[in-house]
Symmetry: C2
Subunit: 231 residues, 2 copies
């Protein structure tokens, strides 16, 4: 989204966001009526959102019916990767909507309609890889997770504050790479706190499995809190 093009553009942007928020509210009611907990996952391209889901889904098989909606500008590669895990996955290709750099509540509503909600307790929405624009658009989710790779550097929460401000959980991913990087993990976590003092934080690696138990426990606690737990 851009807002620096004079009053008329600002009006339009405000109207687009207001229209989105109305649909997001409808989504939220629909998800509640269906007892589906919805997690919106945001992060830069290559931060590890799909790899996180690939590592997460097998661990949920015993306890939850999982579904995934994936947003990408082009290709259905991520939905194919997810579908290999044996769960329903719907790809939204935003190129069909002019190359939108984020998901909106309306496209999510349409994708959700293609899923069998009765078989789903937990729906992940993997947003378009973009640390900026998705944070502006409420999708009706129960919680927002920002995935930030250790390779992106410790200053990113300060430089891209909105996504971190909107997050309920910040997952610092790819921590298996820390020994090969010049990253100050304390400083990274302090920067997250500076932008959002109350946000939950975890350090994990989908590859090594480190931190995955904490993530699963966080999901279970959120499911319980939302009253949408089926088992």
């Amino acid at each position: 989204m851009t807002r620096n093009d004079g009053p008329q553009k600002v009006d339009i942007v405000t109207r687009v966001l207001a229209a989105n928020d109305r649909i997001a509210l409808e989504n939220r009611k629909r998800f509640a009526a269906d007892s589906v907990m919805v997690i919106d996952i945001m992060g830069s391209p290559g931060s590890g959102k799909t790899s996180l889901l690939e590592a997460t889904i097998p661990r949920l098989k015993e306890t939850s019916g999982t579904g995934v909606i994936v947003g990408d500008i082009a290709t259905a590669r991520d939905a194919w990767r997810i579908a290999l895990q044996g769960v329903p996955a719907i790809q939204i290709v935003t190129e069909n909507f002019g190359g939108a750099c984020h998901l909106e509540a309306g496209t999510v509503a349409e994708a959700y309609g293609k899923l069998d909600a009765s078989a789903i307790d937990l729906l992940f929405i993997e947003n378009v890889g973009n640390l900026v624009c998705p944070a502006e658009f409420d999708l009706g989710q129960d919680a927002r997770v920002v995935v930030l790779s250790v390779t992106e550097g410790e200053d990113k929460p300060l430089k891209y504050p909105l996504a971190f401000h909107e997050a309920d959980l910040v997952l610092i991913s790819k921590c298996d790479l820390v020994p090969y990087l010049d990253i100050d993990m304390d400083s990274l976590l302090e920067n997250v706190c500076e932008v959002n003092p109350r946000v939950d934080k975890m350090v994990l690696s989908a590859k090594s499995g480190q931190g995955m138990d904490d993530w699963m426990a966080w999901l279970a606690a959120r499911m319980k809190m939302s009253g949408k737990m089926t088992s």
Copy 2:
């Protein structure tokens, strides 16, 4: 930028882009009149754009007057990092323009006015960390460089095609990390070619110095080609 909100929104977006293109054309003329070659550097958050410039600027000291315009949503951290190299650096903080997710020709024109063009042969514009939106906005540059970190994965050119399609050079960065990743470099380079068969490609590491000579040679060749070489 979003375009999926009906005809009125599309109209506005089209007008914004057309207005931007007019200013970009003026920028291009101004850069030519000043004999300044301008390189727009795009890439995801944490792809290594600032580190690349930190490694590049000292190597240019003998041959070129260098200047940098840096775009970020928040903080002036990157301009400080660049200024430590002893070259003029202007930070554009897009938060002041509603948090814009990209640079536009108008803000670049304003920043350029703060530089002493007579001391500059080569101007780098470090765009906002975003692999999506910056590619839509011509800034009046001579060439566009996309920096893609090896940590982002081999599928990114296919998933974010516009930036790669618009690029004159794709720099695959952080290649010192390849031994610790499951990345297929051949497949990555093939995917770049699939989106943009004629684009120049290089693999480098600002940290180890690998590939930096090729990048410097590319810059020198572009300077020569543009007729903007002073030495």
